[in-house]
């Protein structure tokens, strides 16, 4: 009995060591980034020369960086909205059985499987072949929707798949037309999932870099701008930019998770 308890506590210690190492490796670099964002030094390097907030103020004094942030926000919002709408349509369609359904399901997921750099090259060639003007709200928007749509679909489809069809059937028995059933029954119940899908798609679009760099015109999104700074300038404010981007992405994801969790609770109660 005593040896079993010692054995168990040894395994507990190993497990704790593993968990601590896991979190240190996962979050350590992020904490270092946050620390450097407050470092009063002209280069991103040790030693720590004092605490300052000036790099955060510097971000908002740079019109080009602010413009990139706005570009990423607006693009993310539009791409997220379109991807969510398209994913909703796909998910509704996939509730039925039809020929080639398994194949189509896999085709939807192809953008996830194709490596980013290959995806970027493919889009570059595709848009060039059709003579599309390269720009933020033309080629980049399509590239972002192409990237986020599979994730939006994977987020929304399980929710719709679990939806109790008998409620819809009851509504139709009472004389409601299909659009009314969708608008008055289905939509209110999946609204939390739609918000979560939108926010998740927004985050993916906001952070997207590799495909964007191939199909961008003269404007920049914030990941592309940050990369330009890394390869071309001493930019001591870069860690601060990284923290701001992280806060935006994490906040959007957390809000999405909370809304989604709330939706699950409401669905469980009903």
């Amino acid at each position: 009995m005593a040896s079993r308890s010692m054995h168990s506590s040894r395994w507990d210690a190993v497990l704790w060591a593993y968990v601590i190492t896991f979190f240190v490796v996962l979050y350590g670099p992020l904490l270092i980034l946050v620390a450097f964002s407050f470092n009063d030094a002209e280069v991103v390097a040790l030693p720590f020369r004092g605490f300052t907030l000036k790099w955060y103020w510097a971000i908002f004094a740079m019109p080009e960086l602010v413009s990139s942030l706005v570009n990423s926000f607006v693009l993310g919002a539009i791409a997220g909205a379109i991807a969510t709408a398209l994913a909703l349509g796909l998910a509704l369609g996939f509730r039925r059985d039809f020929r080639l359904k398994p194949l189509l399901l896999r085709l939807i997921l192809v953008p996830i499987i194709v490596p980013g750099i290959i995806g970027g090259v493919v889009l570059l060639l595709f848009f060039g072949y059709f003579g599309m003007p390269f720009g933020l709200y033309t080629t980049v928007l399509i590239a972002h929707i192409n990237w986020t749509l599979p994730f939006a679909f994977l987020t929304l489809y399980p929710r719709l798949h679990r939806f109790d069809r008998s409620i819809e059937e009851a509504a139709m028995d009472l004389g409601a037309r299909p659009f009314t059933v969708f608008r008055r029954i289905v939509l209110p119940m999946i609204k939390p999932a739609l918000y979560a899908t939108f926010l998740f798609s927004f985050t993916l679009s906001f952070d997207e870099f590799i495909r964007t760099i191939f199909v961008l015109g003269g404007e920049r999104t914030v990941p592309v701008h940050v990369w330009s700074l890394v390869i071309g300038e001493i930019a001591p404010f870069l860690p601060a930019v990284g923290v701001v981007i992280m806060v935006i992405s994490v906040s959007a994801s957390l809000i999405g998770l909370l809304v989604s969790a709330q939706g699950d609770r409401v669905a469980a109660q009903s």
Binding site: V43, A45, L125, R220, W227, V230, G232, I234
Partner: protein
Amino acid sequence: MTRNRFEFGNGAGWSRRSVLQAMGAVGAASMAPQSAYAQQKSIDGLMVNAVMGGPLRGIVEGATGVKVNDGPFVSSTDNVAKLMAPGGGTRYDLLIGVSEFSKAPVLGESSGKERALAYDPAKIPNVKNLSEIARTDLVERDGKTFLVPVYWGYDMTLYNKDHVPENDPLTQSWGLLFADKYAGRIAWYDVPHQMIMVAGLHMGMKEPEKASASDLAEITKFLISKKKNVRTIWTTFAQAVNLLASGEVVVSYGWIPIRVALQRRNFNITNNWPSDGLLVWSHGAYIPKDSRKGDEAQAVVNAMLTAEYGVALTRETGYLSGSTAAEKLLSADEKKAAGYDVRERGIKTYGLKWPTDLSRWVEAWGKVKSA
């Protein structure tokens, strides 16, 4: 929903009329800025973003009345890839990249297959002021000019003067990058082309770019033998700057902008002038042949060869103007620090030439990195 009203619940909602009014207002608002900007001439370009940074953009746009929308520059070879991709002839109006890398794709396989517009000499009169070094990279065919070098520079070894003596033959050679003396405090650059070129120059090869298989094997063996001295191999500007600024390394392969950025912040870092051959290159401007803004692009190129632009270019970025007009306005100290007088000083220069088989070089560098 009633026929003419979108209901949100609790009595709130939009009438159809108010929705249409809002859409009209948004449409009108989005048109206004477009109509204002539509008046200004502009070109889309790809170039090292620093050459349009700060006051440089104002000089070019002020002289030409053309707004330069410079996209994020990846590399000179990326420029060429975009030029050669479907639709590449119309996507950008001006591309500026390493002349040596751009020459063959710009000229195409034969006369008539050029991918760039021929310059109109009347639109680029400042080409007559091209310096001797820049002029060697002018790309012409059948009496027409397709690529104009607008600025030039060189790669070097950067070193910390607090730890590395300046007046030492080892310091003033590519051997500094491989010196056992500074073992553990050296950084290399993660690009096969440059690293193998400088190793070849250091080993005394006359034309490293034409290295045979056995020569390349010798270079690879040499690099592997010296890898033990290397602290790290950097890939980005920011990495190189931080390595030197923090003192983690005292010797590093370097670029002009790295030197300028560190010296501007009072770090005691400078570059060597390698006796085995300063690796020089130029950046040349070419206009994709299907660009509809050839006149505007040529005006920008001409402006980049003015004295005013050239002086600002050297003072802001450290790059050297392709025009002798700029050189005349710089002080003797500025010219010496920048390197305008390298040939007068008797420093051997060697052009960054394209290897005869880059894939073998890439493979060789892979062996060095994995050793």
